[in-house]
C-alpha cells in the first residue's frame, strides 16, 4: 500500500509476457527513469540501494547457476523459447510440405509427428534421412542438411507440440564390465536385422536394415528409443536406458575394435571367405601351376 514499493516504479513488470504481448504500453517504460526523479528525492537513495542489491543478488544467483549448470555441450532440451521458435522456422521451411502445418501429417506424403519426440527428430535429421529426397521403400542415410544446433531446435519444436521420447543427456557409454550384457541384448534384439557384425541386411521388397558403421552413440540410442521407419520401438520399460547404453557401447566397441586375425574381409562372413579362396587361393595356385608346368 505504500508508495515506495509500487511495482511499476521499480519496474517489476515482466519484460515479455507469456502471450507475447507486451503487458505495459511502451510509454510506461520511459517515465520509469523519470519518475524517481519527479517524486520526492527522499526515497531515491533507498530505491537505488534496493536496486543495486537486487542486481547483485540476481547476478550472484545467475553466476552460481552458470557455474553449476552442466556445460558438457549437450543441448538442454529444456530449451528456451528461442529454440522452439527457431525450430518452427526450420520446420516451416523444410518439413511442412509432407508433415503438415500442425504436424498432423499429409496423406501419402508424410506421417504425423505428434508425440514422436526429439529422439525421433534427432535420429532422422542427423542421419540425413530427413528432409527426404523423395518417396522410397525406406529413406537412406545421407549427409545431414542441418547442424547439431538446428537439429536440437527442430527437436525442441516437435517436443513443444506433443512431447515424446528424448535422448538422455551426457555420455551414453558404459564401462567394459557391461559390454557382455550389451552383446547378449544386441544378439537377441538387434542382430536378426543388423547382423551380429553390424553390417545390416535387406528386408522384404527393397527395404534395408542399415549397417551400423556410421552411426554415432546418440543416433543408435535415438533409433532404439524411437523405432524409425520399420525398426521396432524399444521402450524404456522393455530395454531400460542402462541396457540401451550397454547395447550401443557394445556396437561401438565392435566397430572400433581391430580384427585380430588380419584383414576382416568387411566382416561379411563365409561369402567373402568363399570369394577369397576362389579368387586368391585357387586363382593364384592356378597361376603357380601354369608356371610350374611351363616348359623353359
Amino acid at each position: 500500500m505504500s508508495d515506495e514499493f509500487d511495482d511499476d516504479e521499480l519496474g517489476f513488470g515482466p519484460a515479455v509476457s507469456a502471450t507475447g504481448v507486451d503487458p505495459e504500453p511502451t510509454p510506461r517504460k520511459a517515465p520509469k527513469k523519470k519518475r524517481p526523479a519527479a517524486r520526492a528525492p527522499r526515497g531515491w537513495r533507498r530505491r537505488l540501494a534496493s536496486g543495486l542489491m537486487l542486481v547483485t543478488v540476481l547476478a550472484g544467483v545467475a553466476g552460481t547457476y552458470t557455474l553449476f549448470a552442466s556445460s558438457s555441450g549437450a543441448n538442454d532440451t529444456r530449451t528456451s523459447k528461442e529454440d522452439v521458435e527457431a525450430g518452427r522456422q526450420l520446420f516451416n521451411t523444410s518439413c511442412i510440405t509432407c508433415h503438415g502445418a500442425n504436424l498432423q501429417g499429409v496423406k501419402d506424403r508424410g506421417p504425423s509427428l505428434i508425440g514422436v519426440g526429439s529422439a525421433s527428430v534427432y535420429f532422422q535429421v542427423s542421419t540425413g534421412r530427413m528432409p527426404a529426397a523423395g518417396q522410397s521403400a525406406n529413406e537412406p542415410r545421407k549427409s545431414a542438411k542441418f547442424d547439431e544446433q538446428q537439429i536440437d531446435q527442430l527437436g525442441a519444436y516437435i517436443e513443444s507440440l506433443g512431447n515424446g521420447p528424448q535422448i538422455p543427456q551426457g555420455d551414453l557409454r558404459v564401462d567394459d564390465s557391461q559390454l557382455a550384457e550389451g552383446g547378449e541384448l544386441f544378439r537377441l534384439n538387434c542382430a536378426s536385422c543388423h547382423g551380429t557384425t553390424g553390417k545390416g541386411a535387406p528386408l522384404s521388397a527393397g527395404k534395408t536394415a542399415p549397417g551400423l558403421r556410421s552411426a554415432t552413440d546418440k543416433q543408435i540410442y535415438a533409433a532404439m528409443l524411437s523405432g524409425p521407419e520399420n525398426m521396432p520401438v524399444f521402450g524404456d520399460n522393455q530395454l531400460t536406458p542402462e541396457q540401451k547404453k550397454s547395447i550401443l557401447t557394445y556396437v561401438q566397441t565392435l566397430e572400433a575394435s581391430k580384427d585380430p586375425g588380419g584383414n576382416g574381409l568387411d566382416r561379411i562372413g563365409p561369402v567373402s571367405e568363399g570369394i577369397v579362396i576362389w579368387v586368391l587361393g585357387i586363382g593364384v595356385l592356378m597361376i603357380v601351376i601354369l608356371w610350374i608346368g611351363a616348359k623353359t
Binding site: 559390454l179 523405432g227 520399460n237
Partner: protein, 358 residues
C-alpha cells in the same frame, strides 16, 4: 621279370658302366626309354648357371631368415586382445606370423621348383604302359581262376546247401547285431516331444505359464511400446534356454489392430494390441524375427520366408508353408501390476514340418 627286353646287362657289365649308363640300363629294364636328356648347363662355369644357383640359394636363405623372424615375432610381438580404449597393436600378431610362415614355406617351395626347372637336367622319357593283356597273363588268369574255384570246391559250399544257408543266417546275425547294438543305443523315441513346448499347462501356474524376458523378468503389457517387439520365453525352469519355446511378442501400432485377420478360432488369442507367435520359423527352424513394424512383415533371415503378422503370421513369400503358431495371451494381476501369462500351449507343433505332423 618286369623288363620287356630280355637283354638286361650282367653284373660285371653293370659294374663296368658309368653311373649314367647304369641308370639308363635300369630305366630300360623298367620299360622307360630316354628320348631326350640334356644338362641345363653343359658348359661349366657359365654366368647363367651361377646366377641360377645363387637365386635358388637366395630363396633358401630367405626361407631360413623368415623362419628366424617367425620365432622372434612369436615370442616378442604382443597378442592379447584389448578394448578400443587401449592400443590395438595385437592385430599385427596373427598377420605377422602368417606372413612370415608364408614367406618361409613359399620361398622353400619356389626354390625347390626353380632347382628342378633351372638346374636339373631336362629330360623326356617314354614309359610303356603295359596295360593291355601281357604275354603270360591269360595263363595267370586261368591259373588264378582255377585256384579260386578249387578253393571254393574244397570248402564244399556248392554242394552243401545246408551250410550255405546256415552260414548266411549266422553272417546276417553278425552283420546285424553290432548295428542293432549301436543304433539301438542311439535311438530315442520322438513320441509327442515335438508336439509340445514348455508352455505346456502346469498345475503350479493355474492362471497360465508366466511369460518372461531372457533375464527372467516378467513381461508387463506396459513394457512394450506400440510398434515394439520383444523375444519372450516361458517362465519355467529351463524355459529361456529351450530351443522350442522362444516367442515373439508384438505390440501393433494404433490402427493396425482392427486390420488383423485371425486364423479360424484364434481371433481371441491376442490381448488388446498384442500378438504372440512362435519365433521358430516353420521352414527350417531359424528364429524369424526381422520385424518390419510398419508393414507388419516378419522376415526369416535364413531363406527369406516372409510372414504377414496381420494375417496371424501367414507365410506370404518364400519357402515357408505354415503360419507361425500363435500363442494365446492372457493377463494376470500380481500386486496391482499386470503381467502376461500363457494359458495354454501352442495348439500345433512349432517349427519345421515333419512326417508325423499331420
Amino acid at each position: 621279370m618286369s623288363g620287356g627286353q630280355s637283354n638286361t646287362p650282367t653284373e660285371e657289365e653293370l659294374r663296368a658302366m658309368s653311373t649314367e649308363q647304369a641308370m639308363i640300363a635300369g630305366a630300360d629294364a623298367d620299360d622307360v626309354h630316354v628320348v631326350h636328356r640334356r644338362a641345363r648347363f653343359p658348359v661349366p662355369g657359365t654366368k647363367a648357371e651361377k646366377r641360377a644357383e645363387r637365386t635358388v640359394a637366395g630363396l633358401f636363405v630367405l626361407a631360413a631368415l623368415a623362419g628366424v623372424a617367425f620365432i622372434v615375432a612369436f615370442i616378442v610381438v604382443p597378442y592379447k586382445y584389448k578394448t578400443p580404449s587401449h592400443s590395438q597393436n595385437f592385430r599385427f600378431y596373427t598377420p605377422i606370423l602368417g606372413g612370415l610362415l608364408g614367406i618361409m614355406l613359399a620361398a622353400l617351395g619356389i626354390g625347390a621348383i626353380l632347382w628342378a626347372k633351372w638346374l636339373m637336367p631336362e629330360e623326356e622319357l617314354v614309359q610303356e604302359r603295359h596295360d593291355e593283356v601281357q604275354p603270360g597273363e591269360p595263363e595267370e588268369q586261368i591259373m588264378t581262376g582255377a585256384t579260386l574255384l578249387s578253393g571254393v570246391n574244397d570248402t564244399g559250399l556248392p554242394r552243401r546247401s545246408l551250410l550255405v544257408r546256415t552260414l548266411g543266417l549266422a553272417g546276417g546275425a553278425v552283420a546285424t547285431v553290432p548295428l542293432v547294438a549301436l543304433v539301438g543305443a542311439l535311438l530315442k523315441k520322438p513320441g509327442k516331444i515335438l508336439f509340445h513346448t514348455l508352455y505346456r499347462p502346469d498345475s503350479k501356474y493355474p492362471n497360465g505359464i508366466p511369460i518372461v524376458y531372457s533375464d527372467g523378468r516378467r513381461v508387463s503389457p506396459n513394457d512394450i511400446e506400440a510398434g515394439g517387439l520383444a523375444t519372450v520365453f516361458p517362465g519355467v525352469p529351463g524355459g529361456v534356454k529351450d530351443a522350442s519355446s522362444p516367442t515373439l511378442l508384438i505390440r501393433l501400432r494404433p490402427g493396425q489392430g482392427t486390420l488383423v485377420k485371425a486364423r479360424k478360432g484364434q481371433s481371441s488369442w491376442g490381448w488388446e494390441d498384442y500378438l504372440a507367435f512362435s519365433k521358430i520359423c516353420t521352414h527350417a527352424g531359424c528364429p524369424a524375427s526381422l520385424y518390419e513394424q510398419q508393414t507388419t512383415r516378419l522376415l526369416c533371415p535364413c531363406h527369406q520366408s516372409q510372414f504377414e503378422v496381420l494375417k496371424d503370421a501367414k507365410p506370404v513369400f518364400g519357402p515357408a508353408t505354415r503360419s507361425l503358431p500363435k500363442l494365446k495371451l492372457a493377463v494376470e494381476v500380481v500386486d496391482g501390476v499386470q503381467y502376461f501369462v500363457a494359458p495354454q500351449d501352442f495348439q500345433e507343433p512349432i517349427g519345421p514340418g515333419f512326417w508325423e505332423r499331420g
